[in-house]
Amino acid sequence: MSEHTVKSYDDDLTQIKTMLAQMGGLVEQQLDDAIDSLTRRDTALADRVIQNDERVDVLEHQVEEKAILTIARRQPMARDLREIMVAIRVASDLERIGDLAKNTAKRTHAMSDQLPRKLMAGVTRMGRLAQVELKNILDAYSNSNAELAMEVWRSDEDLDALYNSIFRELLTYMMEDPRNISLCTHLLFGAKNMERIGDHATNIAENIHYLVNGKPLGEGRPKKDVTSGMRVEVGGASEE
């Protein structure tokens, strides 16, 4: 986009975008470390993730402050206005993703060493998928690429599908042996965290669509997470 007559206005907008790029990079790193710490049961790494979350929060506040100041000073219109509104929303989604990464890392402490590898595999796979989604959506945002954003938006279905199967799988383990319940519950929350990260990525995708096209995305996203209605039937006996 061409430049403003007032150069410092461009600087304001560039600064916001730079802060968000920084925030995005940090959140990506946090998520990567959180998944690693959980997979390798590396509590030292987990603690680092927990500590670093504060940096994400600080960046979010900085984006917000800069955005409010820019609104007050420039009275942005049209695309500039959307740019700023979307920046605030993206910052808030990234902050939430950071929280979910932190929460996942925290659970490392509750993992015992005897955890069967195959139990971990599903959650790790979800984590990797969520990472790809996050990376792509950050790319889409930094290039204001609405098509790429929509691809991410659609791809979130895969993460939902994986979550459904992991949910089922973990329930089965818990039923097999009640000693698995504590671990499986933590893993279930971990998986849920990854699923939520995917949802935040689709939020960002919707905002990129609005930023570029000036209209909110009309249709609702097909939500494929069906676990909220899932029931467990003990011993195969019907509950009816």
């Binding site: 403003h4 009275q75 219109m77 049209a78 206005l81 000036g214």
Partner: protein, 274 residues
């Protein structure tokens, strides 16, 4: 909508502007050209303006927005070398019809200017002058009534009712501008044209005028030319963006300032214009 069809085009972004809820266009213009001698100030302009709504004209200096505004009540007639061609209709009547009475037209299509220009007479006389020459009041009592009503509608009555005999020029800038609006209202206009009515006023006087505009739109078709994008966004329901004598985009104000269709509109309202 009843826009003129080809060969003219009316650039209303939404096919049915929201401000057209009562379904009536007050002013329709099609294929309008305005020349000042050699200068081609307005080029093949077509626009439909709804009744009982505020339409704002924005655009850089020299884009033709004031020229077009003045064409709506034939104010350009007074400028030597100015030629207007094409159709401009108010209530489906061609206002450039040679048979039309221009004085009557200007009563029906009133105008408020950038600098408040009260007559060097009393506050009362400023408002009473128009109704008197148009014979709208049969006696003094009726004239008093018209003066009071007009000043009330212009939100000035409470401030001036005890000093109607004092000169209008003694009022503050904002009060003078409201006096000019009262003067325009006094002759029962249907359309009020405003050419940057707040550019000489402080923010508080501006807010009072904007509040007044918002009330007046219940009863009038209002067209306002403004250089303040924020003002256009605040007071209008429709916004028209002019550039180099053409109408670039015309649509619902809400959309013009959040997601305009044309790149030139976007560049202008975001402050990127060259």
């Amino acid at each position: 909508m009843n826009a003129p069809t080809a060969p003219f085009q009316t650039y209303i972004t939404p096919p049915h502007p929201r401000a057209l809820s009562n379904g009536k266009f007050k002013i329709t213009a099609s294929g309008v050209d305005v020349h000042y001698g050699e200068k081609h100030a307005i080029k093949n302009l077509s626009i439909d303006i709804p009744d009982r709504a505020v339409s704002a004209f924005i655009g850089p200096s020299g884009c033709g927005k004031s020229t077009f505004l003045r064409a709506i009540n034939r104010m350009n007639d007074t400028i030597p070398g100015c030629r207007v061609t094409g159709d401009i209709e108010v209530d489906k009547h061609d206002i450039y019809d040679p048979k039309i009475d221009v004085v009557q037209l200007r009563a029906k299509v009133g105008m408020v200017f950038q600098k408040p220009n009260p007559f060097p007479k009393s506050i009362y006389e400023n408002v009473a002058y128009g109704p008197r020459i148009h014979g709208l009041a049969k006696d003094k009592t009726e004239l008093d009534q018209i003066v009071e009503q007009s000043l009330r509608k212009a939100g000035l009555w409470e401030e001036v009712k005890d000093r109607l005999a004092q000169p209008g020029t003694g009022l503050s800038g904002g009060q003078q501008q409201r006096l000019c609006i009262a003067r325009a209202i006094a002759v029962n206009p249907e359309v009020i044209l405003m050419d940057e009515p707040c550019s000489a006023l402080d923010p508080i006087a501006t807010a009072k005028i904007e509040e007044l505009i918002d009330e007046l739109r219940q009863n009038y078709c209002i067209v306002i030319v403004t250089h303040s994008m924020q003002q256009a966004a605040r007071v209008s329901q429709l916004t028209a963006f002019f550039h180099l004598g053409t109408l670039v985009e015309y649509g619902d104000t809400d959309e013009m300032f959040t997601a305009p269709q044309e790149k030139r509109t976007q560049d202008y309202i975001t402050g990127r214009f060259g």
